[in-house]
């Protein structure tokens, strides 16, 4: 058996009375796209936030690359190689697309107690940033302020910001949320291009996209995994069909 890159064990998190993550265990194998699906409020974002460090679990353990990271801070996890995107676009609106990505590159290029040289002129930041923008098809929008980008472009920018850090694990929280059909298609292409080289934990509502991309699917309902397996098994799993997919075929 392959050693997994990310291991979530018996994770539990509640908000007041709501048990958002309920004894969840899950592991992601290197090089795979592992999709997590489930209805709204199932606890998908809460799970991602615990893996990225934005939320502390009440109990349970998260290990990455064989090391326990349950208590490490978000920046520490990012530096270890876990990059996330946000369901609700989270970027630096006052910066250009290029600056957004260059800033992410900067975070992974040593400390930033450098007070003198203009960061904008540093090729070692702008060069990888340009490449990442190219990867997501935003190379022509590099100088546009992020707040002037379209919604779809913002989603692509999020991916570029994650990619430029050369993460070992990508956490993508509904990258296609709010996108039109064309934009979604483009995003599937982008993610397909990452397949094999990157390990991805993908949360997505768009079932076509999920079945087109995923190597492994976990179904989350009320904070716990009701099924996990290969896409074809999930598609046929009666419990899943009843709880989530709906008997459509």
């Amino acid at each position: 058996m392959v050693e997994s890159l990310l291991n979530i064990e018996n994770l539990r998190k509640s908000f007041g009375g709501v048990l958002a993550t309920d004894n969840l265990s899950l592991s992601v194998e290197p090089g795979k796209i592992h999709a997590v699906i489930g209805p709204n409020g199932a606890g998908k974002t809460t799970m991602i936030s615990q893996v990225s460090g934005a939320l502390r679990p009440d109990s349970g353990r998260i290990s990455f690359n064989g090391e326990d990271i349950t208590r490490s801070s978000p920046p520490n996890r990012s530096l270890r190689g876990i990059a996330r995107t946000f369901q609700i676009t989270s970027i630096f609106n006052e910066f250009t697309a290029l600056e957004n990505v260059a800033l992410a590159a900067q975070a992974h290029d040593g400390h930033s107690f450098r007070f003198w040289q203009p960061a904008k002129k540093e090729a070692r930041l702008t060069q990888p940033a340009k490449e990442a923008l190219e990867l997501v098809g935003l190379e022509n929008r590099a100088q546009v302020l992020a707040c002037n980008l379209s919604h779809g472009e913002n989603r692509q920018l999020e991916i570029a910001m994650a990619l430029v850090t050369q993460p070992k694990l990508l956490l993508l929280d509904e990258p296609m949320a709010g996108m039109g059909a064309d934009e979604s298609k483009k995003m599937v292409e982008i993610l397909n291009g990452l397949k094999g080289e990157h390990t991805i934990l993908l949360i997505e509502h768009d079932m076509d996209a999920v079945f087109a991309l995923a190597d492994q699917i976990t179904v989350l309902v009320y904070g716990s995994a009701i099924a996990s397996g290969l896409p074809e098994d999930i598609r046929l799993n009666p419990e899943v069909r009843a709880a989530y997919l709906g008997d459509e075929e």
Binding site: A83, N93, W116, K120
Partner: protein, 322 residues
């Protein structure tokens, strides 16, 4: 290359300031010299506040405390017959930086209104500490027996020399700010204002950078304090009073938050208005207040922002909406 209006305004101001000693001498009104010097010292204070407030989103309502600490360092040194500026001034910078480390470490754990309140509370604490320092004049303050002694370099009892020193240091601080703001460090500070959660997620431990910015700003304000002590030949707790911190905030807002030389414009306008209006009426703030509200309402980026915005519109006739 097109020179921005901000640069032009800035150059004009510095040109004018360079001529003030000559104007004061020609017109025989030494008060102009005094006024312009005070304005420049406060501009250094406002410039330092802008680093954290304009660029870092940290609205400190206690920033004048560092001016006070810088001034008191000089005053207390002089009281103990340590008159060398080579000792006094570095000490003023170091001590205000040390206080900034402590105050920053406490206050930066909060944000928004809580940050404002904590910086205000810490500053008031220092104000009352100053009032209670009977050994150093308490409420009445402490006269400076002699100005900081930079023997062999510059004679600060010569008021025009002090003027040009302040002038030079203001330019120096502006230059330093310009480098910092555009550096990697500056990007982190700006990023943390824009979206701190995202900064953490891409790998920046933001706290240490914000704290460093807070300390740099504190030290720069400490320098303004050392200058202020020499300017007034006097230090007193009032320099640390929260209304002084409020003045600095107003200067930053007036000139334009987050534009480099905005605080200088702000300090200039603030001091001139204060002077002009208080000549008309004792209740000058009754006029000043509404003026401030108008500026904040109608020129979001302050007076400088007002200029720049017009230019932006000319530069990009069509808005780019993707």
């Amino acid at each position: 290359m097109k020179v921005s209006r901000e640069t032009i305004v800035c150059l004009l101001i510095f040109l004018l300031l360079a001529m003030v000693p000559a104007i004061a001498a020609l017109t025989d009104v030494p008060f102009y010299l005094d006024l312009a010097r005070r304005m420049m010292i406060l501009a250094i204070g406002a410039l330092s506040l802008n680093l954290i407030m304009g660029y870092g989103g940290m609205i400190s309502f206690g920033h004048a405390v560092f001016i006070g600490i810088g001034a008191y360092t000089v005053g207390i040194c002089a009281e103990h017959e340590i008159v060398s500026g080579y000792i006094q001034w570095p000490l003023a910078l170091i001590i205000s930086a040390m206080f900034a480390v402590v105050f920053g470490a406490i206050s930066l754990r909060t944000r928004g209104v809580y940050f404002i309140m904590i910086t205000l509370a810490l500053a008031q604490m220092m104000y009352f500490l100053g009032v209670s320092l009977d050994r150093y004049g308490g409420d009445d303050g402490l006269p400076l027996a002699e100005p900081s002694n930079f023997s062999g370099l510059i004679d600060l009892s010569e008021k025009t020399s002090l003027y040009y020193l302040v002038y030079g240091l203001l330019i120096f601080c502006l230059w330093i700010s310009q480098r910092i703001v555009n550096s990697r460090f500056g990007m982190v500070v700006k990023g943390a204002r824009s979206n701190e959660e995202r900064m953490q997620a891409i790998g920046f431990p933001t706290f240490r950078y914000k704290l460093t910015a807070f300390v740099i700003a504190g030290a720069m304000a400490g320098l303004a304090g050392a200058l202020l002590a020499n300017h007034t030949d006097f230090v007193n707790p009032d320099m640390m009073h929260w209304t002084r911190s409020g003045d600095l905030i107003i200067m930053v807002l007036l000139g334009g938050m987050g534009s480099l030389s905005g605080p200088i414009v702000g300090a200039l306008v603030f001091i001139l208005l204060e002077e002009a209006l208080s000549g008309i009426t004792e209740y000058w703030q009754l006029i000043f207040g509404p003026f401030l509200i108008l500026v904040v309402l109608f020129a979001r980026g302050g007076l400088l922002g007002f200029l720049e915005k017009e230019q932006e519109i000319n530069k990009f006739p069509e808005r780019d909406n993707g």
